[in-house]
Structure formats: C-alpha cells, structure tokens
Symmetry: C2
DNA sequence: TATGAAAAGATAATCCC
DNA sequence: GGGATTATCTTTTCATA
C-alpha cells in the first residue's frame, strides 16, 4: 500500500490514459526506461488501483447517437431501499452514461446519449419519468461537443499548479 | 466504407468498450469465433473508425480529485477567431474534462474535476472568468457519482428498443 | 531496492485453405 | 470463416549495481 507516485509513474499514467494501445517497449522508450522496470511499474499501478481499467472508446456519431442531453431531475425523498433500486435502474439504462447527485434546487444531473429528439422525448416519458420518485425533469440539449476526455489532470513536471498537485495525500 | 455492423461486430464492440484488455483469442472465444476472423473484424472496426481509441481509465479519487463540478457559463458573442481561441483554451485546461455548447439561457456546460473547494474557487476566478467573453459562471457541485461510463448503448440481440437501434443509417 | 539483459511464454498478425 | 505459421510483444527469471 505504498501510496506515492513518482515522476516516472505519472508519465506512464499520462501516456496510458491518452493511449493504452502502446506496447510496454514503446512506452518504455518514450519515458527513457527499459522494458522490465516499465512493465513492473504498470503492473504496480494496476495492482494499487491507479489504473482501474482499459477500454475502447467508440465513435458515438458513427453509431447514430447524434444527440447528448443533460437532464436535471427533481426526486422526492427516497428511503435506502428506494435509493438502491433507483441506482440499479440508472445502471440498467445504457443511454444514461453519467449520473450524479448534486447540490441545489434539482437533485440529479444525468447525461444521456440519444439518436434524435423523438427518441429522447419518448425516453423522458417512458423511462425517466417512471423512475421511482421522479417529480420533474429539465432537459438541456447540447449543440456541440467542444471537449470530451477520460484523462484526469496529473501533476506536471514544471510543478505547475494543477489540480492533482495541490492535494496533500 | 461499407458501413453496417452485424450482430457479431456489435458483440465485439460491446466487449471491447467494457474491457479492451481482452486478448483476441479470449474475445473470439466469448463470441464463438476463431482468432483470425475475430482479429480481422477488430481491425476493420478500427479502420472504419467505430473504435476511436483505447485508453486507461484512472482512479480519480486516488489521484486526489475528489470533487466534480458542472459549471454553466454565459459567454458573449464571439467571432470565429475568438471562438477558436476559446476552444483551444478549453483544451489546454486538463481539469476541464468535458465541455459542450448548449441550448438555453446559458451557453456552455463544462465538467470540471478538482481536489477541493478552495482549488475550485481559485479556478473559477483565475481560469474560467478569464476565458474570452465569459460573463457569468454558475456552478453545480456533485455530491456523489452514481454512474459514469464510456460505453455507448448498442443495439441488443432481443431487438429491444434501444437508442442505437432506432436510428436508420 | 531498482535496473537491464535475455529466455520463456503468450499474443498479434499473416498466410493459405 | 477457420487452421497453421511467423513475427512481435509480454512476462518471468536472473544477474548486476
């Protein structure tokens, strides 16, 4: 449970969260290390949970999913059982790609991918409104995606003040 | 540019977007195919752009990034040059992980990851408010992440009415 | 404790059917 | 699409510092 990352670990993570198809040798080369230590570090980063998983990112629009909508939802008080059921429902709807409980007037912020407006309209009435306790749904349709990344900010070499660098662990 | 996916392609995509660390042989086995055709299909799905890339998903909280915030931003009219500069700025800030232009009262919806409230406060004043044309920032802090996935909904075997299935291509 | 070189094993990529 | 071959990469072992 040694819990600190050195500069080399961070460079490995930075590369892998941009492109996990790199071979160990290529990656080792990029960071000026030989294969074995590079491989062991990757293994350790996996074992310690810094790397959660490795996934393929698909082209949303090529799959006909041209729309993305943020839906803000007002939910009434739920007991623990209802809450668990709610969360299970959310996870069973593949078109809901993100869901957060949030501070403020509305209780949930969810991100939905959809093929078109008609589909989404049905989705709101047939799926969202039927989730337990849902009282109100306010939808914000996106016009364009200016940025979408799965990459987390990591402390950078220059010691620049980034999010990841400012937190004492 | 043959543009249709059969049931096997979809099963391959489904597996890979959940776990891209599967070997071709393992994947082939899961879908009842032998290695060569499975490999060729994966290659084709890559070439045709259905698979955009392969990334490592890191553990946000292990990196000290415990907060996620949706910031809705009002931006004044921008000409093309300013717009391009804006988009470049967004892409240069690693803590901004998603950014969409949206319909409605406010113009942009961005998702930010941050270590703590203090960091985020500084970020709003030192970074967000200094982006060209920004007039107003409204922040919604998330309390908990109920779902986050990079996986897109794909048409399913049963012919269930999913988002991906309803769009004619 | 970490590295590098090299062997052993597994996988990816190509061939032919 | 399948089977077999080759090339490449991953993983282990071992020697070194």
């Amino acid at each position: 449970m040694s819990d600190d990352l050195d500069a080399i670990d961070l460079r490995i993570l930075e590369h892998l969260q941009q492109d996990a198809s790199l071979s160990t040798a290529e990656l080792a080369d990029k960071i000026g290390l030989s294969q074995s230590p590079c491989w062991r570090r990757i293994q350790r980063l996996r074992d310690e949970g810094y790397i959660k998983r490795q996934v393929a990112i698909l082209d949303r629009t090529k799959l006909g999913l041209d729309m993305q909508i943020f839906a803000q939802i007002k939910v009434g008080r739920l007991d623990d059982t209802e809450r668990a059921a709610f969360e299970r429902s959310i996870n069973n709807v593949p078109e809901i790609v993100e869901c957060y409980s949030v501070f403020g007037e509305l209780d949930l912020m969810i991100k939905v991918v959809a093929p078109d407006v008609r589909w989404y309209q049905e989705f709101v009435f047939d799926t969202l409104m039927k989730l337990p306790g849902v009282q109100d749904v306010r939808s914000v349709m996106t016009l364009s995606e200016m940025k979408y990344t799965t990459a987390m900010p990591l402390p950078r070499k220059g010691g620049a003040r980034t999010a990841a660098a400012s937190k004492k662990r």
